[in-house]
Symmetry: C2
Subunit: 374 residues, 2 copies
């Protein structure tokens, strides 16, 4: 269990299989986020149909509502939300960090106030692991502290705490059917990141996550951080870049040796009427789509693009029909899931390096704009 | 086209087939309502899966948004919303009537203000038919005037106007691939209803609707009205009871010779967390369901009941996840669609009359309560 077989490599990119109790995960893989035990507005059947294999859920949210003990009583998260395939939970560290003034961190753990009712709670590494064991995902995370990437002094303190908490998380972890991943922190400082990568790599985690990115740093800082971290990680463990990201982030991450991604972006954009397309993001509320008989993306074969016109989607948005969010979520998630699957095929065929410029040209619309301006 | 074959009769109940350009409709049938060219929160695949065959959409809403001409340009309503099976549009009469102080009725038509932006519009029988021809449903409705059932004088005026408008609707109707139904009005006055039924029955409509019920009258008044109307209607035309209703209304309506029903109730209840069950309506937000591992209804085989627990549905409701509305809508619509299908089988088997008391005991929970109190 939890072996990671690498089937092919190209430069630093890898294609592999991670074995979990709920099936083999073909990597690289993009995981939709089901914050509250549901990927917003989608049924499990939608997720299967759009090609999702791994689904993430959030420890902080499920601890507060409905409670991890209730989920355990109902048979665990897979059974509760009826997702029969691999699942991952975060540790709650990042969510608690995001509460800003509503939390207080000490060396033992974090005391925080619920965003729902202001009640006081406390997470420690041991508590986070206990909650995640109740939830029962296949992949769980060590409790960590995320830092402001622009504050080096704080990044060092947070990193050191993350390392002590990684050891405590390992000691607290009991269930053999869950893979506990350690988390590399260190902000955007290359020295801290190297220290953190080496330390976390030295511990017996079956997989390693890279945290603290996509939290306000520049794209260049994200890439430089990955360039420092992934070469220091063991080859035969999967690497998970947490909370990332955009299509171009996935392409750049895979090229730098990342295997697993998750992000709320596709579903969040969908609820704000924005759709990924190979010609850039479309705001489907735009009046220019009122009589447009084309699908969102003519090169996409998701249910939404196979079935509905831009004109219909725009009508749903203008009429405030919730089905719009469902249909655009299906498309946006499919776009990222499929992009990563396509790259996997390229790595297996040995053509990824060659096709990388084409992929970036197609998906990195900011880079294209920047190039046009320079 | 638009022939109605009656396959079996039991007392006044009928089982038949109504032939439409988008397929045969097996009656009796319950139609989900897709007000704005979508049954709220459901995809067409959900509707097929739950067994829907006929879907209704609203002329008033689609005229205002996105506009009937736009729908026509996009290939008509079937193509626009991707519903390949039979569709029905109302005439806008009831919706405009519901605008209360925002409309003014004269003998030629109705001037009203849009509920969206207050802009002024005018519907006449000719305009309603023209809109419905642009939308392109298989079954369309004559323009009518609904009245307050408690105001006999107004009910008479509205009925007489409805009769004149029925003739004008027939004259305006051009498309041979649409069945135009006349509408019987007359409030809850048996004499007016008899006059209206005989008048509408005398015109060459391929089907006849009964309007102005489920608008504030008592259940007894509804039943007495049906007892007056349906015996006066031609046997070989389908009868459509507009905007009705609850499970017990469907049972009582079929027993009185009705073939087609529609109602927003199943989806509206779902969005307010209420589910039909054979033991009464459940409010799924109730704390007693927090750890309930059962489906909504153990005798139901809809996707929601086959897949999810009450505990999970309650969690979605408490966490304000929109998926709750989708899943309960699937269940509630399936409950009514399946109830009517089950009754059809009973009529074909000649057992409906015998099973009627059991059906009413199972579904008419108000009657059960009333019986217990008396």
């Amino acid at each position: 269990m939890f072996e990671y077989d690498i089937l092919a490599r190209q430069a630093r990119a890898r294609a592999g299989i991670f074995h979990t109790p709920h099936g083999d995960l073909q990597t690289p893989v993009f995981a939709p986020v089901g914050t509250q035990a549901t990927v917003k507005t989608l049924t499990p059947e939608h997720l299967k149909e759009l090609g999702a294999s791994l689904v993430l859920s959030n420890t902080y949210h499920l601890y507060l509502r409905p409670g991890d003990e209730l989920v355990a009583e109902m048979g665990g998260l897979h059974q509760f939300m009826q997702w029969p395939n691999p699942m991952l939970t975060d540790s709650g560290g990042y969510q608690v960090f995001s509460l800003a003034k509503m939390r207080k961190i000490d060396d033992d753990g974090v005391t925080f106030k619920s965003h729902i009712d202001g009640s006081t709670h406390r997470f420690t590494p041991e508590k986070s692991i206990s909650i995640q064991e109740n939830l029962g995902a296949d992949i769980i995370m060590a409790f960590d502290e995320c830092s402001d990437p622009n504050d080096r002094a704080y990044s060092k303190i947070a990193m050191e705490r993350t390392h002590r908490w990684a050891e405590r998380s390992l000691n607290a972890h009991l269930r053999p059917d869950q893979a506990l991943f350690g988390i590399v922190q260190g902000g955007v400082d290359p020295d801290l990141r190297a220290v953190s990568a080496e330390f976390i790599a030295s511990l017996p985690f079956p997989g390693i996550a890279i945290g603290g990115l996509s939290v306000g740093e520049t794209k260049d800082e994200m890439h430089r951080t990955l360039d420092v971290v992934t070469p220091l990680l063991p080859e035969h463990k999967p690497r998970y870049l947490m909370g990332v990201g955009t299509p171009e982030d996935l392409i750049n991450g895979i090229a730098r040796g990342v295997d697993i991604f998750d992000c709320v972006l596709p579903t969040r954009l969908a609820r704000h009427n924005a759709a990924f397309s190979s010609t850039g993001r479309l705001n489907l509320m735009n009046a220019t789509f009122a009589r447009d008989p084309r699908p969102i993306d003519e090169s996409c074969d998701c249910y939404t693009c196979r079935t509905f016109t831009r004109a219909y989607l725009r009508h749903l948005i203008v009429a405030r029909e919730l089905l719009a969010g469902t249909l655009i979520s299906i498309h946006n998630l499919h776009a990222l899931v499929q992009l990563v699957k396509d790259i996997r095929v390229m790595i297996l065929a040995g053509t990824f390096t060659e096709q990388l410029p084409m992929l970036l040209e197609r998906w990195d619309h900011n880079a294209v704009k920047k190039a046009a301006q320079s």
